[in-house]
């Protein structure tokens, strides 16, 4: 029997970012697991409604990894 699941196809431009997403999923940093299926090196199938959270988490990560002389975060 074919199983049908609604969700979002997430395309990652590199594997590093995909590992970061998987890390978020495993540690449940969004409060819950959201990866439905790990498709391949660049694709994940995830549940609906987390896209904005993920983009936010990515922005945070990039912010932590960058230095600015005017930085107001720390």
């Amino acid at each position: 029997m074919v199983q049908v699941t609604k969700g979002v196809l997430l395309k990652c431009s590199d594997t590093a970012i995909k590992e970061f997403i998987r890390y978020l999923d495993e540690k449940q940093l969004l409060g819950k697991r959201f990866i439905i299926k790990d498709l391949d090196d660049h694709h994940l199938f995830i549940s609906e409604g987390v896209a904005n959270h993920l983009q936010g988490q990515l922005d945070d990560l990039m912010l932590r990894n960058s230095y600015s002389e005017f930085s107001t975060t720390d």
């Binding site: 074919v2 199983q3 049908v4 699941t5 299926k37």
Partner: protein, 445 residues
């Protein structure tokens, strides 16, 4: 060029009936003609005085085979319904014919004759006549006021202007009690040059005009007619339709047209609207550049305009402000903030290039490449994830089942991702029902 391209893209999106009605209006014909590329203009001239349809083979012989420009121009003329496809009876050949009303009107424009469009000053002398410097000043002030309001300046505007900004999709309001806020389109709008801004504003305005019960064709005719009028002359409101009067009233609010009172029987077009359709030549180059970008990401703006500084502050961290100069720095944070608002890296770069100080123009690269590259890299950094809604099909019992569904989805053009080994595929949700029906039919047969 970009501006006239926008007009053409917009016209292409209109249904053919609208375009045919538009072509019954001579100024519109001329405006469309002027916004075409040179090749397009040449092609129209070639067939202007030919009564019979031309076979496609003849038209294709105008250019060497495989010439992209030729094919593009031809398809553009076709989409604009200037060239209309016809079947030529003898031999069932495919051919093209110039749109009848377009042909008639363009001939009149070239050879003379026909009715007068709009006559300046035929209401006699105006007691309150306005000269050109006054009109220029008026237009600049009005337009700048609006931009100032959009960047969150202190200027208070009539609620009606704010509403027109909302019609144009530049501002948005959650509810009537909340203050309106600027949209993504609005941010992008601020970084354009004035002429593109006006086109963008007019096109967005027209997009929603029909929903408000206005006649789209009347508005288009009016704007084309305005663009051919003379600066500093007054025109009569006589003969304008209801839609055109409403449209003009809104244009007045934005400084595109001047009216002393809204009940006044005459109006003056301002420099903002005149020459809109003249294409590339009229691009405003008189405005001196004021921005210097250094390789250390420092931005120095020799300006005292609040608007310019507020626009720069959209993507710069401003640091010092002196009477005639402001200094800021492009940082990762400031660019990220702009990107979050929906501004694109290319728009920032083109804004800086457009307003570059003349000392920077003499260099091989107007902007330091390290700065432009870094801005682009900062943009790419955010685009590492892309999301698309989809439906996952899994647990296929056999490879043949999988192949059948995959082939069907591929034919529909909705297959987003697939893997044969694991018998998985992701489908665009739009056509899910069709695939489900297909699968049911397959199983029952």
């Amino acid at each position: 060029m970009a501006t006239s391209c926008d007009l053409l893209t917009y016209l292409q999106s209109l249904p053919s009936a609208v375009l045919t009605r538009l072509y019954q209006h001579p100024p519109s014909c001329l405006a469309v003609y002027r916004s075409l590329s040179e090749l397009g203009q040449l092609y129209i001239m070639r067939v202007l005085f030919i009564e019979r349809p031309l076979p496609l083979a003849d038209i294709n012989s105008w250019a060497l085979p495989g010439n992209n420009l030729h094919a593009e121009t031809l398809s553009l003329l076709n989409k604009l319904h200037i060239f209309e496809p016809v079947l030529i009876r003898t031999g069932q050949q495919q051919g093209y014919q110039l749109n009848q009303s377009y042909q008639t009107n363009l001939r009149i424009l070239i050879c003379g004759g026909g009715q007068l469009w709009a006559v300046p000053g035929h209401r006699g002398d105006d007691k309150h006549s306005r000269d050109i410097p006054y009109l220029n000043d008026y237009a600049d002030k009005k337009w700048e006021n609006i931009l100032n309001f959009m960047v969150g300046g202190s200027e208070k505007l009539d609620s009606e202007i704010v509403q027109v900004l909302q019609y144009a999709g530049l501002m948005s309001q959650a509810s009537s009690r909340h203050p309106s806020f600027i949209t993504t389109l609005g941010f992008q709008f601020l970084l354009m040059d004035t002429q593109s801004q006006i086109w963008q504003f007019i096109l967005q305005y027209l997009n929603t005009a029909q929903d408000r019960g206005m006649d789209l064709i009347d508005c288009l005719k009016f704007i084309f007619q305005l663009s051919f009028s003379t600066l500093g002359k007054d025109y009569s409101t006589k003969g304008l339709t209801e839609s055109q009067l409403t449209f003009m009233y809104h244009l007045c609010q934005f400084g595109l047209v001047y009216q002393r009172k809204s009940s006044s029987k005459r109006y003056y077009p301002t420099k903002l609207v005149i020459q809109l359709t003249a294409g590339q030549q009229s691009r405003n180059t008189s405005q001196a550049g004021f921005i210097i970008v250094e390789t250390n990401y420092r931005v120095i703006a020799y300006t005292d305009s609040k608007l310019h500084i507020a626009t720069l502050a959209l993507f710069c961290q401003m640091q010092y402000r002196f009477p005639n100069v402001a200094v800021g720095t492009i940082t990762r944070e400031s660019i990220q903030q702009a990107l979050v608002h929906g501004i694109k890296a290319d728009q920032i770069i083109s804004f800086l290039t457009q307003h570059a100080h003349h000392n920077m123009l003499s260099k091989a690269h107007i902007l330091p490449p390290t700065v432009t590259d870094q801005i682009k890299l900062w943009e790419i950094e955010r685009n590492r994830l892309s999301f698309q809604e989809g439906i996952l099909y899994s647990e296929f019992l056999s490879v043949t089942d999988y192949e059948k569904v995959k082939k069907y989805a591929e034919d529909l053009g909705v297959l987003l991702w697939s893997n044969r080994q694991r018998r998985l595929m992701v489908i665009h949700p739009d056509r899910h029902d069709e695939i489900r029906h297909f699968w049911k039919r397959q199983k029952s047969s």
